[in-house]
């Protein structure tokens, strides 16, 4: 009796310790983002108080009003949205076809191409920066959003095809084989059987590409010269490197940039976890 009570007690201690550790982790991860959101809601007089107060005395949307009354900011949001959408469409069309081909067909060089995709996934943007700049400049695309779309496609495509390969692998081949045996053509198999089964995977890969494109900074900053064509990340980066930083507006814009991304990611997170843990790294 006494023994089991002691056991329960030490179990209890362990449970509490675990809960505390968990809470600490949540706090450390959440704090910077929460602090940004809280700062953006503070009235101007409170934002620069020393020592800073944790919570705003009352919630003020003053900074948001100021941030979004600037039409340049609206341009940035629109540009980022257009670039991310264009990139997503381009990447998904190519990557779905490519991944389907690599997982379902047999031909000479298939393995080599799979390896090449994996290698491409590891090539960092900083090494592609100068040649991409030259390509885009030669094509005269550096005053339109197409240049940035090309850049973003380059850095997200290998990752997308890689995720999709692992999604396609998880779909049993027997289903299509049965259809092929029964006389369905390859196109019918692709559109009627494979695509519906893959919609969750393709959709979540698409959203991930959208997020990566929305977040991208280096190529966006290099491939666009005109101010009205700049994306959100480039615009924000210019704001924080200026000498007179308008902190309240910056915090509001940062929060507004992050929230849609976090919501989108939460929606596809399950597929992302499955895709990444199934295929990308095998020990």
């Amino acid at each position: 009796m006494r023994n089991s009570f002691q056991l329960n007690n030490s179990k209890m201690v362990k449970k509490i310790a675990l809960a505390l550790v968990t809470l600490l982790c949540v706090a450390i991860v959440g704090f910077p983002l929460l602090w940004m959101a809280l700062s953006s809601l503070k009235p101007p007089t409170e934002l620069f108080k020393s020592p800073p107060s944790i919570f705003p005395s009352h919630i003020s949307f003053e900074w948001y009003r100021e941030a979004f009354s600037d039409t340049t900011v609206l341009h940035y949001f629109a540009n980022s949205f257009l670039v991310a959408t264009g990139t997503t469409i381009l990447v998904i069309i190519m990557a779905t076809l490519g991944a389907y081909s690599l997982t379902r067909f047999r031909y000479f060089g298939r393995k080599a191409i799979t390896m090449a995709v994996l290698s491409a996934y590891c090539i960092p943007p900083i090494m592609l920066m100068i040649p991409l700049y030259r390509i885009v400049a030669t094509l005269n695309l550096n005053s339109s959003l197409f240049g940035v779309i090309i850049g973003h496609t380059t850095v997200t495509f290998p990752f997308a095809i890689w995720l999709l390969i692992s999604f396609f692998r998880s779909i049993p081949r027997e289903i299509e084989e049965a259809a092929l045996v029964n006389g369905a053509s390859d196109f019918v198999v692709f559109y009627k059987i494979i695509l519906p089964l893959c919609i969750p995977g393709v959709l979540s890969t698409g959203i991930l590409v959208f997020i990566l494109s929305w977040n991208e900074y280096l190529l966006s900053s290099v491939l666009i010269s005109q101010d009205t064509m700049k994306t959100l990340t480039v615009g924000l980066a210019n704001y924080i490197s200026s000498t007179e930083i308008n902190w309240g507006v910056i915090m509001a814009l940062g929060t507004a940039t992050t929230i849609p991304i976090v919501i989108m990611f939460s929606a596809i997170q399950k597929y992302f976890v499955e895709g990444l843990t199934a295929g990308s790294v095998k020990g």
């Binding site: 940004m36 590891c122 960092p124 390859d186 992050t258 990444l276």
Partner: protein
């Protein structure tokens, strides 16, 4: 393909003709589907890498279209540049501490989310958030919380007496790099966490039960079972993270711009400054190539290790 298919296709005379072309047709279709991928990789990945290599032997300028081949001049110039050595060293410091930090934190959190606890799925989702926070947002938060006058983290450090009143660690020689590494660990632990978590789930639970029966403590189990089982995962993660961290430009650039006095300048920033600061893209390409050689060895090893999944 299954042999049953042949049977059903051979059963009628009309279909026999179809069967005759079946493999050729499928092969052709497969190649058509992969063609955009091949073309894209050739133009936007292979060509840039080759072009980098070629440019590194020229005196090309960003704004001038014509250039001459100068042999190894760029490389000689680099190795006689004292700053190159310093920036390389910064790259090593940045990479080693960032990678070590994110792997240790990633593993610790993977162990945490691998336990069956209430709200475990929510916890996992929450801990993944830094993976998608834009670098520019992390940069602006960093600048804000480490601001010398109003930053809350600076305030804490000032209260501890580690830095002077109104001072920011971002303006200090060692401090700036330390802050950047900590922030980078915060940004990048989710990937190792996820991969470690998957690997933990893959370990056969019977080994733990056997160890438990033999009287091994939790810590012993972790040290003698978990860690050895994670060895391959760790190697792959180290390689991948070295490649991505050593070439990661955005965060440091936006927070410190490489300062103060070059103390946080690493090779990616040096590449950027040579390209868009002084427009010497030949010289910048040479830095790229030198950084790349080290990384290509890593990539090659990773692809060899991870690529033999093929069925």
């Amino acid at each position: 393909m299954a042999s049953g298919e042949q049977l059903s296709l051979e059963s009628t005379g009309r279909r026999e003709k179809v069967f005759f072309n079946f493999y050729t047709r499928r092969k052709l279709l497969g190649i058509i589907f992969i063609l955009p991928t091949i073309l894209f990789l050739a133009v936007f990945i292979v060509y840039p890498v080759v072009s980098n290599l070629v440019l590194s032997f020229t005196n090309a300028k960003l704004v001038k279209p014509e250039f001459n081949f100068v042999g190894f001049e760029n490389y000689i110039k680099l190795f006689s540049n004292k700053m190159f050595l310093k920036y390389s060293w910064n790259t090593v410091v940045w990479t080693v501490f960032s990678v070590a930090g994110q792997l240790v934190l990633g593993l610790a959190l993977a162990v945490l989310i691998n336990r069956q606890i209430r709200g475990g799925t929510f916890l996992r989702s929450f801990l993944l958030i830094p993976y998608v926070v834009p670098a520019v947002v992390i940069a602006l938060i960093t600048k804000w919380i480490f601001n010398g006058d109003y930053g809350i983290a600076s305030k804490w450090l000032q209260d501890f007496g580690w830095i002077d009143y109104k001072q920011s660690p971002l303006a200090m020689f060692g401090g700036a790099m330390a802050v950047m590494i900590v922030i980078n660990i915060w940004r990048s632990y989710p990937f190792p966490m996820l991969i470690y978590w998957a690997a933990l789930k893959g370990i056969n639970q019977e080994i733990y039960e056997a160890a438990d029966v033999d009287g091994a403590s939790k810590l012993q189990s972790f040290w003698y079972i978990t860690l050895p089982q994670l060895r391959n995962t760790t190697i792959v993660l180290i390689i991948l993270r070295i490649v991505w961290t050593a070439t990661y430009f955005d965060l440091i650039w936006m927070v410190t711009g490489g300062g103060p006095a070059g103390s946080t300048t690493h090779l990616p920033i040096m590449i950027y400054q040579s390209s868009f600061g002084t427009f010497q893209i030949g010289y910048a390409s040479a830095i790229s190539i030198l950084l790349g050689i080290v990384l290509f060895i890593c990539i090659f090893y990773y692809v060899r290790k991870s690529g033999d999944f093929a069925d």
